[in-house]
């Protein structure tokens, strides 16, 4: 009798563990950084609910995920710091002191962070373990968001006040070129094939597409007012642009660069991220303090998730986290 109960309990435990393993393998998490409340929220995309809230002291503005070390690096412009978050322990491990006004950040996948200093117009190359600044590179004025290629060989920087995108070769630490785009580029997104870079120009209200082979702008479609966030679907078919004024997300066709859908979201939307399976997108509604979940097949908003105040940036994690 007793043995049978043990077996039953064991079976049930195994079943639970298996369900957990299956869920972990298929669920992709989305991370949302709330600047005002200083919280990195983890959204479980199988339920579209916040599974964890990781407190970061200060007002974190932007972040990057290093999939190899399973760490998040979040910039704190007001205090000149970078918070290092362990995604397994879901806690801040350490704080790197880099000085200045760190804003945009990208990892080159070899343990180095490329960090924009908003008011010093430069990129610092930072050892992600020690926080040591190994080198600095001058870029255009007010470097906003940064994006790195998957192999980390190249980093693109949106130079907001110079109306350009700086292209950094991370091996030689040289600026390959500064590409003129529209007025006030802020957010960037690379296509999965990394052949195209999408640039949202806030004041020009345009979407510049850069051919990453020629490093030339190939198209500049008009957007709604104040495009503040951009993402490309994993199959490289559509580009999502969040429009801060009007509170919508416009969806552009990658081939024609024409907008074929517009979805109402929350107020002053900013960061956008798309799941790797391509079916859903997540939008940080800065003013509303919420995240909109978009169904990309039907082009509708299916949920608004209340989140900590001041959400500005969203990123999707890898399939294993």
């Amino acid at each position: 009798m007793r043995a049978r109960i043990h077996v039953a309990a064991l079976m049930s435990a195994i079943a639970t563990a298996l369900r957990g393993a299956v869920a972990m393998a298929s669920t992709q998490n989305v991370y949302v950084l709330s600047q005002d409340d200083g919280i990195l929220s983890v959204i479980d995309t199988s339920t579209d609910e916040i599974a964890a809230k990781i407190a970061i002291t200060g007002k974190p503005a932007a972040f990057t995920i290093d999939t190899a070390s399973r760490r998040v690096f979040a910039t704190l412009p007001d205090t000149g710091e970078i918070a290092v978050v362990d995604l397994d322990r879901r806690a801040v491990l350490s704080v790197l002191k880099v000085g200045g006004q760190p804003f945009g950040i990208a990892s080159d996948k070899t343990g180095r962070l490329f960090v924009g200093d908003w008011s010093a117009n430069r990129i610092s190359i930072v050892d992600e373990k020690t926080g040591t600044i190994e080198a600095t590179l001058s870029v255009g004025r007010a470097p906003a968001h940064l994006v790195a290629t998957r192999d980390g060989s190249r980093v693109y920087v949106a130079d907001r006040e110079s109306n350009s995108v700086s292209v950094i070769d991370t091996k030689s630490l040289k600026i390959l070129t500064e590409i003129p785009v529209g007025r006030a580029p802020f957010a960037l997104a690379l296509s999965t094939d990394e052949k195209q870079l999408a640039v949202a120009n806030v004041q020009a209200a345009t979407l510049s597409i850069v051919d990453t082979a020629t490093l030339q702008v190939t198209s500049s479609a008009a957007t709604r007012a104040m495009p503040y966030g951009v993402a490309i679907t994993h199959d490289d078919s559509e580009i999502l642009v969040s429009n801060q004024h009007g509170g919508t997300v416009s969806i552009f066709d990658v081939k024609t660069h024409a907008s074929h859908a517009e979805i109402k979201v929350g107020r002053y939307p900013e960061g956008v991220a798309v799941l790797k399976n391509g079916r859903k997108a997540y939008v940080a509604n800065w003013f509303s303090g919420s995240v909109s979940v978009l169904d990309l097949e039907n082009k509708i908003e299916i949920k608004k998730i209340k989140c900590p105040e001041g959400p500005r940036m969203v990123l999707t994690g890898g399939a294993d986290h």
Binding site: A61, P77, Q101, R141, A142, E161, H245, G246, F287
Partner: protein
């Protein structure tokens, strides 16, 4: 257009000479104010959507001058304090009854902010309309150690006072008082 470009260049050169940090950078602040007005939404919207008419209802605005047209529309507001605010129009949405615009200049005498982007919406409400005026703004000194009169609190207070006064004035105008 040529004049506008020249004035923008002048503003840009003043900014770069005086060493004022570029707008943005630190944490954006928000203001969210509402008022109920005893008038039909369509009537209130008619007043709100007229970008250059703000001088006729905002008690702190003594003059409003509109230049340009379409997506190239700006207005220059002269305030009672003597300061000026230059706004560029981003969108007028008749269906949503929402007008969006943003600040183009920086004038400490007018408001202790380095930039804002505002939206005013009109909605039906019990007894008439509800008008909501929201603002996303940055403090005047966007460096990391702003003095007290140029920090986040000062920016939010200045903007809140300006917006509240505007809503009160709009209510008076719309209710015919």
């Amino acid at each position: 257009m040529a004049v506008k470009l020249r004035s923008l260049l002048i503003i840009a050169s003043i900014l770069s000479c005086s060493g004022v940090a570029s707008a943005h950078g630190p944490t954006p602040q928000k203001v969210d104010e509402k008022i109920t007005i005893a008038a039909p939404p369509a009537d209130v919207w008619k007043i709100v959507k007229d970008f250059g008419a703000i001088g006729s209802w905002h008690p702190l605005v003594t003059q409003a001058k509109v230049e340009g047209s379409g997506s190239d529309t700006t207005r220059t507001l002269t305030l009672k304090s003597g300061g000026t605010l230059v706004d560029s129009l981003d969108a007028i949405d008749d269906k949503a009854m929402e007008i969006d615009y943003r600040l183009q200049n920086q004038d400490f005498t007018a408001l202790p902010v380095s930039s804002y982007s505002d939206a005013i919406t009109v909605q039906p409400a019990a007894g008439g309309s509800e008008v909501e005026w929201i603002s996303r703004l940055y403090r005047f000194d966007t460096g990391n150690e702003p003095p007290d009169d140029k920090n986040d609190e000062a920016a939010v207070k200045g903007s809140t006072d300006f917006i509240k006064a505007g809503l009160e004035g709009l209510k008076k105008k719309a209710e015919g008082k």
